[in-house]
Symmetry: C2
Subunit: 116 residues, 2 copies
DNA sequence: TGAACATATAAGCATATGCTGATATGCTAT
DNA sequence: ATAGCATATCAGCATATGCTTATATGTTCA
């Protein structure tokens, strides 16, 4: 591999790792591994503002880790399987404990898709 | 897994990922995957101060990713295979391009173990 | 069209991070 | 002991990051 290509690659890898190096974003990505989620669900799960959630998602989208899919007034996020970092991300998520009980907690509260 | 244990686990994982989310530290870890290195070698490889190198290594050591091994006045760093994050780290490093040419560049300059 | 809801963006703040230069500590060998 | 080298730590600075509140944009539906 070219020196310059390596430089770019390690830069890209470190950028992705930095993004995953935030507890909230890492939990988001783990949730997205198994679920499509909309912003308001994340708002119900994490105890931070809608604005903060939106900013996290933008960062993840800016580097192509997630993609969005608008359905009416909701925007559903999912992992972007076409990302050239997708494989690495999957490997990493294997080491992250499932966050599904957070979604189940939402459901128990009757807040799944709280925006509906 | 207990909710509390999950919380701790994701916290630990995100901390490790944050550490690897720095270009310099990621390259260091990739080098340490195959080589033992001392501080002065890193100083020769990266264009930052000895102080900065030392601080990066301390962070990596504080979470147990690397260990140190003093040999006389040098301290050689290596990956800590006993870390409970070791397996995840190895998986991640598979996606990072080899940095060995940086060591070879050092050798060409006659600077391998520049401190000797 | 306008009200209601979902999401995004802007501005500002507190804290974290990475770096440098200066200095301290630790080891070796004379 | 002391000089010389390797490494660690301290203090301070500039920038990055994550959050909040306020506001803007986009969509649906009456």
């Amino acid at each position: 591999m070219e020196v310059r290509a390596k430089e770019l690659e390690i830069e890209k890898a470190s950028m992705v790792l930095k993004l995953l190096g935030d507890k909230t974003r890492l939990a988001m990505m783990k949730l997205l591994e198994k679920n499509e989620c909309c912003v308001c669900e994340f708002v119900g799960i994490f105890h931070i503002s809608q604005s903060a959630i939106s900013q996290h998602l933008r960062k993840l989208r800016d580097v192509g880790l997630v993609k969005e899919n608008r359905k009416g007034q909701w925007i559903f996020y999912s992992l972007n399987k076409d990302s050239d970092m997708y494989e690495m991300v999957l490997h990493i998520l294997e080491f992250v404990p499932s966050q599904d009980e957070r979604i189940q907690a939402l459901e128990k509260q009757g807040l799944r898709i709280s925006c509906q």
